[in-house]
Symmetry: C2
Subunit: 276 residues, 2 copies
């Protein structure tokens, strides 16, 4: 079990968690709440000057933890795969402009071809982006997604697979995001977190909770403590590897998005100290 959290210096909140707020408002509120970090979703940057937005965040004492998201590499046609690579190169440029050290990848999966083929295309897509990532000083961070997304969102569904892939690519510009929502059920999780840390690939740690019942496969994530995930135990495993990065709260929730976001942010802070 990890030690209790006592302040918000290592708390990072994703812009999508408080989706109703534009990034400027979210940044002011996070900053006023003494939250240390922000992860920026690309949709939050629409119509903004990205470099100025990065400066705005830093001026508010927010560390830019990552840019979400790149990926979606697999596709049935070579043209579509090339377009995906182009979009990932653009995401790397955006991360550099924003001052984000990594782009988190939802790797993708193409119904109509095997998961094995999709995984190959993911690795090929990452390889095609790697030198650009290196020049930009931006890490490509593989986020293994829950097996319920294997059909259309990610063919990388366990930490073991992400470890295999990161080790095969074997680059300082590739990392892995451990998200409790996607991985909590895995009986091999403790071992795979150890392996991930030992090989220098553990780049990000995402928090929320798994509600029973879950009413929507995408947008019914719980606040920490509302569900059944062994959060402190998993954070303990992550920290035992030497990880001292941010604890990123990433909650997609139709329920919370409908509520007052100030109240929601208060609940996040309480749940962070009490249940994470």
């Amino acid at each position: 079990m990890a030690k209790d959290l006592t302040d918000f210096s290592r708390l990072c909140v994703h812009t999508i968690t408080t989706k109703p707020w534009p990034i400027e408002k979210a940044a002011q509120e996070f900053s006023a709440a003494d939250i240390g970090g922000i992860t920026v979703w690309r949709d939050a940057l629409t119509g903004r000057n990205i470099r100025q937005t990065g400066n705005m965040l830093r001026d508010l004492n927010l560390e830019v933890v990552s840019l979400c998201r790149g990926g979606f590499f697999p596709a049935l046609s070579a043209n579509a795969r090339q377009a995906a690579i182009a979009d990932n190169l653009k995401a790397i440029d955006e991360a550099e402009a924003l001052g984000a050290p990594m782009v988190v990848l939802v790797c993708g999966s193409a119904p109509g071809q095997s998961l094995v083929e999709s995984r190959k295309q993911i690795q090929d897509g990452m390889a095609a982006c790697l030198s650009h990532a290196a020049s930009a000083g931006v890490k490509l961070t593989i986020e293994p997604l829950h097996p319920m997304y294997a059909g259309d969102r990610s063919a990388v569904n366990t930490l073991a697979q992400a470890n295999d892939m990161a080790e095969a690519i074997n680059s300082p510009h590739v990392g892995i995001a451990v998200d409790v929502y996607h991985l909590w059920w895995d009986p091999d999780l403790e071992n795979q977190i150890k392996r991930c840390g030992k090989n220098g690939n553990l780049s990000a740690f995402h928090l929320c909770d798994w509600k029973t019942p879950t009413l929507d496969m995408l947008n019914d994530r719980g606040l920490m403590g509302e569900g059944c995930i062994n959060l402190k135990q998993i954070r303990g495993w992550v920290e035992e590897t030497g990880f001292s990065g941010f604890n990123e709260v990433e909650i997609f929730s139709n329920i919370y998005w409908q509520q007052d976001q100030h109240q929601f942010l208060k609940k996040i802070k309480e749940a962070y100290l009490k249940n994470s």
Copy 2:
């Protein structure tokens, strides 16, 4: 890849697949459609004499493949766990009366305790039922469930875990059901099917498909060919172990349950020959 299926002698349909039909109607229709087997859900037996129902099925040339379902062993209180064991003993009696050679187990999971604890309680619960199962000549068949059900329906979420558990119990009265819906995403599936067959534990094979998108976590399964599961490849792996049992079509679908069940049964037969 498995050889194409050419007739319906090894097709089994679950009563829940055509839920709007009472079991008597389902049995007549399956029999008239030259379907070889039926798996009976316990709710279909409500108010029936179970022994007579079994005879009725056999008189219609339907092989009774299994009774669904027992399980749900884990619980926070000892009383509730004892009640679960009692219900499983009852399910074994029902299977014996029906003439079903096995009870399929949805093993259960209790939010509020760890998956590790739930798994221990599943194994303990099965152990408590084993001598009764042996006397009845009924097999307890572990069905590993998709990780999206880890929170509240099953703490056994991979075939590797089911294999571990069956091998630990090591009894001729314990088996495993391989359901493509739950297991298709697993990169280790081929190996684990081999292991399962080699150790004599592969007792049942369930078919349907995974739709993208999936609109409901419980009741939006697809007909074979409607989704992205590599059905023929998985059936090939299963048959390579020497398995020659039924291919059981188990589809929970709000969409199909609302349609004409005669038409649906026709579609099942077509999809069985073409896409399974």
